[in-house]
Point group: C2
Chain length 223, copies 2
């Protein structure tokens, strides 16, 4: 049995990625990073999903990314936009996926695992640079020179199975695997109960995804 | 004036790197990561050095890398070796420099800074894979595809001025720049007062460096 570390935020994309990794036969270890994100409900969702999908282990690593500022997701002084953004939005967390993948790489190395799954998506995404194929390739290249395991012959593989899927296709995949999306939280400013605002970029992409997939949206919205 | 983010652990190498960056005319922002390392005295040293060298800002980011285990530096169940190691030693922290540089990259992006300095060294080093030129090049490549700034045209530069210097040469550089090495802590298991054990890999490399440089070693050892 192949084993994999799967980055699990608690959102729709990472939950689908985990379901796909399990369906592909991987024994999964889920990693969530508590990086001081606004939406604490997302981490609760990650825990629910990890339990529901029966991962071997779910680890949460604390990282005070808020100390760095610069993003609406970690800096309380920067508001989450409720109208579509032009260009890369203020919800972009500088170097976030680099940091998350670096931590996943470290844990994978400790566990002697060479497969890492991440739910980045280059189609219906928010315009973040670290959600593109070039980024995944560059990180995979880095992983193999950065680690003891890489030097000793392990070839790390970064799997991004959602990379070329639309949000609607992602939802289709998840539903076909039996994933219950009511467990997931995508909203950038969900309330403590996990209810979504319905108007941030993440909510808009998610809502449109369910419409495109012609699947009833199980998301609980505040309005 | 060019600005730079400098990773500052509090050890001999990073302190020298900071002194070299300042000497090269950079206005410096020092970043230390409290990653649950054994040697807490190292972080106190980083604070002293940041003050002494008058950086614009010294930021400490907390990251619970100990939750990951797998290294003598973060896992209390793994002892620091006191005899020379064969191969990559247990003090190797999986993906550490990848994580540290990712955080430096994030902060640099927030500050709109494109120069990042890191004190890795490929000569008298402990055999860590993430202290090699290949690693630095791979990270620089990643930085420019991973970030909003990179996408918008910034070319991040990762400076590793110690890369090809011996420990003796590093010490010569630092002393010529007026750096007081008694402020720095290299030991993997320094006591709370910052006194070095004298027998771990880091102590051995440092001791030999002062001997090679023919400079009196100002390190305070416990024995």
């Amino acid at each position: 049995m192949q084993r994999a570390v799967v980055l699990l935020s608690g959102g729709l994309d990472s939950a689908t990625t985990l379901a796909m990794a399990i369906n592909a036969g991987y024994v999964c270890y889920a990693l969530s990073i508590d990086y001081g994100q606004r939406q604490r409900a997302e981490l609760d969702a990650a825990t629910r999903i990890a339990i529901m999908l029966q991962v071997v282990e779910h680890r949460i690593i604390h990282l005070d990314l808020g100390a760095m500022g610069g993003s609406a997701l970690t800096d309380p002084d920067v508001a989450v936009p409720t109208v579509p953004s032009v260009g890369i939005p203020v919800t972009y967390v500088p170097a976030r996926n680099t940091v998350l993948l670096a931590l996943a790489l470290g844990w994978a190395e400790v566990l002697k695992i060479k497969h890492i799954f991440v739910g980045v998506n280059a189609v219906d995404y928010s315009g973040y640079p670290d959600c593109r194929p070039d980024f995944i390739r560059a990180f995979e290249n880095l992983a193999n020179v950065a680690t003891k395991a890489g030097v000793e012959g392990t070839r790390f593989e970064i799997h991004a199975p959602l990379l070329h899927l639309s949000k609607g296709e992602i939802i289709h995949h998840g539903v076909s695997l039996g994933l219950d999306y009511s467990l997931t939280v995508s909203c950038y400013q969900a309330d403590p109960q996990g209810r979504a605002c319905g108007c941030c970029d993440a909510c808009r992409l998610r809502r449109q995804g369910f419409i495109d997939a012609r699947i009833v949206d199980p998301t609980c919205y505040v309005e």
